[in-house]
């Protein structure tokens, strides 16, 4: 699992914000997020519920526009809903959802499902369309006979492979994967993860891999970023992230993972007890969003939000413990 050699960014996100109006008040789902994904890189975005990670992914694919900040794709500003994006842009950025059952129309055959993106993005028809559909299903490793089946007739892992095929069909450059394996069993997760890696290497794709599963991230992504209550806490290369986690939330999360062997226990930071619950995002705590649960909370944490500081090559933390201007 090598870190990408090239450092041309494919996606640059700065100060991204998103708010939703609810009956109880304004919900700040994403509160100012900055990160950069390079070409052919797999970037992991980790967080629990309420972290805003899925919202970030949704904005990138154009489900809705942001309420502030910028999203640059290969230098181009793309911060607008998909209906306002160019055809070319829509072709290049694709999405794989979490629930394979819900992402496939139960009234359409696999063939029809795979034909849609090919027709829309590449304007294929007739024999050329048939050929492209067949190539797609081969690419993800499913038998040809599946083309005439309905989604209910195939298993969860295979449905997800169809979703991946659907994302690959228009020959994209960037895929947002939102919890693509969370609904699947462990042995099938492994197969899908493998396929994703294989395809990424073959086709030089860039992935934004959104998940809450840290063990998966450990083995699959090049860089890892972690979010809490709409803000980025820490980003680093995966190796660095897991061997030297600095943000207290990162440590708490790592310490909470149930692991399978004594050997793995050693990789967990010395017990940072998991306490408290994630606060309601509508009533965000002042200062640092994590301060209500942080064992190292200081006075400044309660009033001032921390800023992202570089603490090592490629390793950034947003925490008063590590900020350049502590106290």
């Amino acid at each position: 699992m090598t870190v990408s050699e090239t450092t041309t960014p494919i996606l640059e996100v700065s100060q991204l914000r998103k708010e939703f109006q609810t009956r109880q008040g304004t919900l700040v789902a994403v509160a100012g997020v900055d990160f950069v994904i390079d070409e052919s890189e797999i970037y992991g975005l980790v967080g629990e519920s309420g972290s805003g990670k899925s919202t970030v992914g949704s904005m990138i694919v154009g489900m809705y526009p942001s309420n502030g900040g910028q999203i640059l794709y290969r230098g181009q500003d793309i911060d607008r809903p998909a209906s306002k994006r160019s055809k070319e842009l829509k072709r290049q950025i694709q999405l794989v959802f979490q629930d394979p059952g819900g992402s496939l129309n139960p009234r359409q055959t696999i063939r029809q499902i795979l034909s849609l993106p090919l027709k829309l993005h590449q304007g294929l028809n007739g024999a050329a369309l048939e050929k492209a559909v067949e190539e797609t299903i081969e690419k993800v490793g499913l038998p040809m006979s599946y083309l005439d089946k309905y989604p209910q007739a195939i298993g969860g892992g295979e449905k997800q492979l169809v979703c991946i095929g659907r994302a690959l069909a228009p020959d994209p450059s960037f895929i947002v994967l939102d919890e693509p394996t969370s609904a699947l069993d462990v042995s099938i997760q492994a197969k899908i993860s493998n396929k994703l890696l294989e395809l990424q290497e073959q086709l030089g794709l860039s992935y934004l891999f959104i998940t809450h599963n840290l063990c998966l991230v450990r083995n699959l992504v090049h860089r890892t970023a972690i979010m809490y209550l709409g803000q980025l806490c820490e980003t680093a290369t995966t190796e660095e992230f897991f061997t030297n986690p600095l943000h207290p939330y990162t440590q708490m999360l790592l310490a909470s993972i149930p692991v399978m062997s004594e050997q793995e226990e050693e990789y967990k930071p010395s017990e940072v007890e998991s306490v408290g619950e994630i606060p309601n995002p509508i009533h965000r705590p002042d200062g640092c969003g994590f301060h209500t649960r942080c064992p190292f909370c200081m006075d400044v944490c309660k009033t001032q939000p921390p800023t992202m500081t570089e603490v090592g090559p490629g390793h950034h933390v947003s925490c008063h413990l590590h900020s350049a201007t502590t106290t």
Partner: protein, 334 residues
């Protein structure tokens, strides 16, 4: 009756249980000849992936499996010595009183139109030793405090929708405490919760079970949780038992090729990369393969594996595997 509970007797003894479901295409042979045992005060782990039959097993024990379309082909489930599959009132009442389930989706287990106080009060009213009205609130608050519920007074007056997922699951566990059950069946109790909350809930469950000397069956595909929280573990594949034994042994030296494959497929914090997973797919339950159900996918399969169901092979007293590769009590190859 009270004495029996204190004696070290087998609390739950499932013997040779086979269950089939009737569906349009025929009979699905969901469980085959499963033996399963829980002693008083033991914590048992049940490991397996979707479709292996673990939920069916739990539901059968709790007697909430809908009997058509399900059908018991053979076997019995003895709880405190009594076969609960008999359709008599006493065994029915025994299960209702002494067994409780904590399910994956706490939202589905709690009636959205009742306040927490209502159904906790209900449990206390109908308990084996009904609690007087004056005392009830006190007991409810005690139970909520035992599950580390923040602001218990407020929670009592709330409806389930007003509570977070973690809090709802705590309520479910508190209800088990109120009922003072002997056996808790936890079916993926933390799968729908966040990782940090998951840890808290699992710790809570563990503490309660050990402090009050209750028994627990934990079904989870978070293998790490099973490893740290159970004394003995069973591994199931496609309705059959693959392996069973002391948890430490099963996790340190898994013997069955399925268990080995499963452990290998789990991504590790130590960063060993992504495994290939287990080739192949689950067998058809309508027309299951004659021998070992894992044989079509097994990298170590031999001729006998495809023909005959594997018998138990004792590895060292507290670790048994159902696999011809490890020999068997019948004529198996070395």
């Amino acid at each position: 009756m009270a004495n029996q509970a204190k004696d070290p007797q087998t609390l739950l003894d499932v013997r040779d249980l086979s269950i089939s479901y009737k569906v349009y295409e025929g009979m699905l042979r969901v469980l085959q000849h499963v033996d399963f045992r829980v002693e008083s005060g033991e914590r048992i782990g049940l490991v397996g992936e979707a479709g292996c039959g673990k939920t069916t097993l739990l539901k059968t024990i709790a007697r909430i499996l809908p009997m058509p379309p399900a059908r018991i082909e053979s076997g019995e489930v003895r709880f405190k010595g009594r076969n609960v599959l008999d359709r008599d009132k006493t065994s029915h009442r025994m299960i209702r009183r002494d067994v409780s389930m904590v399910l994956q989706d706490p939202t589905a287990s709690l009636n959205p139109t009742l306040t927490i106080k209502s159904f906790m009060g209900d449990i206390l009213k109908n308990a084996a030793h009904p609690v007087a009205k004056a005392e009830r609130k006190q007991r409810m608050l005690e139970a909520l405090e035992k599950v580390s519920m923040p602001s218990p007074e407020r929670v009592l007056g709330s409806y389930p929708v007003q509570l977070s997922g973690g809090m709802r699951q705590r309520v479910c566990i508190a209800m088990c405490l109120l009922k003072d059950v002997d056996l808790i069946l936890a079916d993926e109790p933390t799968t729908s919760l966040d990782v940090t909350i998951e840890k808290q809930i699992l710790q809570l469950l563990n503490a309660l079970v050990t402090e009050n000397r209750k028994s627990m069956v934990l079904v989870s595909h978070a293998l790490g949780a099973v490893r740290t929280m159970t004394d003995r573990a069973y591994v199931m594949y496609a309705g059959n038992l693959a392996e069973k034994g002391a948890t430490a042994k099963v996790f340190e030296c898994p013997a069955h090729p399925y268990t080995i494959g499963l452990f290998e497929a789990t991504p590790k914090l130590s960063g060993e990369g992504v495994s290939d997973g287990i080739a192949g797919e689950l067998p058809s339950y309508l027309d299951p393969p004659p021998g070992c159900r894992f044989a079509p996918r097994c990298p170590q399969a031999k001729a006998i594996c495809r023909e005959k169901k594997p018998a138990a092979a004792d590895l060292d007293g507290s670790h048994t595997v159902f696999c011809w590769v490890h020999g068997g009590r019948q004529e198996g190859d070395a």
